[in-house]
Structures are given as C-alpha cells and as structure tokens.
C-alpha cells in the first residue's frame, strides 16, 4: 500500500501554499515532515487526507483517488490541532463525546488503546472541548490518531503544549503501534531534536515544495559541518553542495551535503569536521542564510 501525492498545488488567494509538490509515502514507516512556519505542511497533510481540496494535482492511495473516496478514507486519519476545527468557542461537547464520535467513524478504532491513553495522560473525559488547555487538546489529537487504527496516520504538531513525561509516553506508544508493522505515520513537528530518533525518513518542505525526502540516518551521515581557515574550507568544499555559510574574520564554517558514500578530502588541510544534528541540517537547508554551489 502506498500513498502518492502527484503534482499537488494549492493556492489561497494570491498565496501559493503548495507548488506542484510530489511525494510517495510507503507502507510501514514513520516520516518526519519538517518545514518552517507557512511552508505548507498542514496544507499538504489536509490535502493528502481529503480534508482540503487541491487546486491542482491529485492524491492516490494504491492508484485510487482519495478525494470523496470512502474506501480510501477508511485508511487515512489526519488528526490535526483541534483548536482550528472542533474547539470552536461554541463547541461545548465533552471529551468522551468527541471520542465516541471518533470510535463510530473510524472502522478500525482501538477502544482499549484509547482508554489506556486517557488514563495515562490523566485526561478528564467529562471536560468540555472548549475548556481544554493546549496540552490537553494535543492529548485528544494523539488519542484520536493512535486509536484510529488507520493505515496512514498524519499528526500535525502532536506534542505542542505537552509536558516532557507525556511526550516521552507519546513516542513510546507511537513506536509500539509502528512495531506492529501495519501503519505509516507522518508527523509534522517543530520540535525536531526530540523526534529525530523516531523518524525513519524525513521530508523537508520549503516554500511549498518538497526539498528533500530521505532516510534520517543516511541524511545525517552525509551532512557535515566543516570549519577552519577560509582557504582550507574552500578547498575541501570545492565542487560540493555547500549550505549555511558563516564567516568570522579569516575563519569560515559551512554545512556540506555530500553525495551518498562520499568523504571530504581533507588531506593537507587544517579543517575541523563534525556531524550535525537533524535540526542543524534543517536550519542549514531551509534557513535564511545564503548558500552557494
């Protein structure tokens, strides 16, 4: 089973949120969807789950269009930030009622898991949705996503407002569900460092386009930070993809994206090479600093 996002564009008025974006999401993986604010992450996930209509392009699940397709939508769950949907000031339904609706609408709902998560998070079932704190809203989002049992589950900023204990617990349950081998998770987050170990692959979205989709380990292996005297750094980086240049006097530091299997040639050069974290890689690739090749 695979989800194909084919040349999808989305335009809001004059703003282009997604620009001919194409992606292929495979079965049984955890993807990290990373991008700056306004990069198009939420729009992408909402179009992929048919919650939003694309201006152009299509989303296919095993070759069948997802839009208004009941069969396909059974296998997709996009649990988004509740504040923008259900927690309208007029929405006074209780948490238990919201979850009851979810249990009816998701055919593979795991009631046992939902109960376990509610207990573990210490969530009050009788609280009204419009009275929930940010962290509690995230808890409900997580419960719906994990208990939905959907093959393709998308989570938009799931850990916003959660304390560290709840976040750890979320990652644990996420990995448990993933270990069953039947589900694919796409997690959009700004808390990159914490989630980096969980992501099997990362997708960088920048200005409405997919900048990169790669296995996390492979990306981290081939991205290095090189610093030293300017002429030495330039010599080592000659012909390589260089990002995020920093200069201080005669010293220079750059982030280099090597080709798979490639090693920087530092023979006779006084440079310091160190690996980068996923967050640093993201900043180097999508930050404002100018890059050159």
């Amino acid at each position: 089973m695979s989800l194909t996002i084919n040349q999808v564009s989305k335009v809001y008025g004059k703003k282009v949120a997604l620009n001919q974006l194409s992606l292929e999401l495979e079965d049984g993986k955890i993807y990290g969807l990373i991008g700056r604010n306004g990069a198009g992450k939420t729009t992408l996930l909402s179009i992929a789950s048919a919650q939003n209509a694309a201006t152009d392009g299509e989303v296919l699940l095993d070759g069948k269009r997802v839009w208004e397709n009941e069969e396909a939508l059974k296998d997709i769950c996009f649990s988004r930030e509740i504040a923008t949907t259900a927690t309208d000031s007029r929405n006074t339904s209780k948490v238990c009622e919201y979850l009851r609706i979810a249990s009816i609408l998701y055919p593979n709902w795991n009631a046992e898991l939902a109960d376990e998560l509610i207990t573990e998070f210490g969530l009050d079932r009788k609280m009204r949705m419009n009275k929930l704190s940010k962290g509690m809203q995230s808890m409900v989002t997580i419960i719906v996503a994990l208990a939905s049992g959907a093959r393709f589950t998308f989570l938009d900023e799931p850990v916003t407002g959660l304390d560290v204990v709840a976040r750890e617990y979320f990652y644990k349950v996420l990995l448990d569900e993933y270990a069953k081998g039947e589900r694919t998770f796409v997690i959009s987050t700004h808390i990159i460092e914490e989630a980096a170990n969980v992501f099997e692959e990362v997708i960088f979205i920048h200005e409405g386009k997919a900048l990169l989709k790669e296995e996390t380990d492979s990306l981290l292996e081939r991205t290095v930070h090189i610093s030293g005297k300017e002429e030495d750094v330039d010599a080592v980086c000659d012909g390589k993809k260089v990002h995020h240049v920093e200069k201080l006097g005669r010293s220079k530091a750059v982030t280099v994206l090597l080709n798979p299997g490639e090693e920087p040639d530092t023979k006779g050069r006084d440079v310091d090479i160190r690996p980068l974290s996923l967050q640093d890689v993201f900043v180097a690739l999508c930050g404002k600093e100018e890059s050159y090749e």
């Binding site: 919650q51 939003n52 209509a53 009941e70 939508l73 769950c77 007029r90 009851r100 609408l105």
Partner: protein
C-alpha cells in the same frame, strides 16, 4: 455499516440534546401561556413555529461550527455528510409534526385538519431552506450571515405578531386556513418546497468543496 448511518449514529446525541432543549423551551412557554394567559390553540401553533425556528437555527449552527468539520475531519465524504444531514432534517420534521399532532389531538381535537398539518410542514420547509442559505453565507462571512439571520428572525417575528393580531380567538386560525382558497394554499406549499430545494442545492454545492479549517 454504511458511512451515512455511522454519521447519523454519531450525530444522534447532539441532535437529541438540541431538540430536547428547544422542546423544553416551547413546553415552558406553552405551560406559561396556559396558566397565565388562558393559552389557546394559536399559542400552540405560534410556539411550535418558534420552537422549530430555534431548533433549526441551533442545529445548523452546530453543523457549521462543529459537526461538519468533525465528520469530514474523521474521514467521511462530503456526500455522506450531506445525505446524513438531510435525512436527519426529514426525521426531525416527522417528529415535530408527530408531536404537534399528539398535543393537538389531546388539547384541541377539533382543530386537527390536513390543511393545518400542511401549513406546519410548509413552515418547517421554508425555515429550513432559508436557514440553509443563511448558514452557507454565515460560514463564508459571519457578519453577512448574522444580518441575514436577523432579517429572517425579524420577518418571522413580524409575521407572527401580525397573524396573532388578526386572529382574535382560537377557532379563527383554523377558519382562516380553511377559508384560504386551494390555489393560494397549494402555491404557498410549492413555494415552501422550492425554498427548501434551493437551500438543499445551495448547501450541497457549498459542501462539495468544503475544506476543514
């Protein structure tokens, strides 16, 4: 279980809650009128219309702000949501008329006429059709929707007062309806059907490309 049925099952409690609240409201006012104002058949008819208006408005508000985004957000197609909502309205219409018939049969059996029922059904359809249009506009632009809503409420209010003023006793309302020519009666019924159909089409077209925000 089909998705439409699932949506209706999910929607049942909130619909029942809103419906009961509007019924309680009308029951309270009806009892008040019976005790303190010597309540008449006309009170019952007018109160029923008002309770229907309140119920339709409250449920529509719930649909727009909560139910529709929740159901579509949980993997339902717009078509299923649309069908479920309209089936629900049809059932509510049947229940409303049933309750009306029951109360009428107990308190004012002499007033039970086919024409009266058709009048009630027409009113319901007319309000539902207009309300659907208002809700669609409101979803796009809150303030224009509110202005339209107020105009509709004012229209119903003025109509109610004018109608009440011109009917002095309980029997006159039935006589009035009874004396309306068949031509006018059927025209007003078809206008109500047309307004309802317009509301359904307008609402369905809007829902076709609905995006969860």
């Amino acid at each position: 279980m089909s998705k439409v049925f699932r949506i209706m099952k999910a929607d049942f409690r909130s619909t029942a809650s809103v419906y009961l609240r509007s019924l309680m409201m009308v029951a309270f006012f009806f009892i008040y009128f019976r005790i303190f104002c010597g309540g008449t058949f006309i009170n019952l008819g007018m109160l029923l219309i008002w309770s229907q208006a309140i119920m339709i408005y409250m449920l529509s508000m719930q649909d727009i702000s909560n139910s529709i985004p929740t159901y579509i957000g949980m993997g339902c197609t717009r078509k299923s949501v649309s069908i479920a909502i309209w089936i629900r309205w049809f059932l509510l219409l049947m229940i409303s008329i049933g309750i009306y018939a029951l109360v009428c049969a107990i308190l004012y059996p002499e007033m039970l006429t086919i024409k009266l029922f058709i009048t009630q059904i027409s009113t319901f359809m007319m309000m539902l059709g207009l309300n659907s249009v208002i809700m669609v506009i409101r979803d796009r632009n809150q303030w224009i929707g509110v202005v339209f809503g107020c105009l509709m409420a004012a229209g119903i209010g003025i109509g109610t007062v004018a109608f009440t003023k011109t009917t002095e006793s309980a029997g006159i309302i039935a006589q009035k309806i009874g004396s309306v020519s068949d031509g006018i009666f059927s025209t007003s019924f078809f206008i109500a059907v047309a307004v309802l159909l317009f509301g359904i089409v307008f609402h369905t077209i809007r829902l076709k490309k609905y995006s969860v925000r």
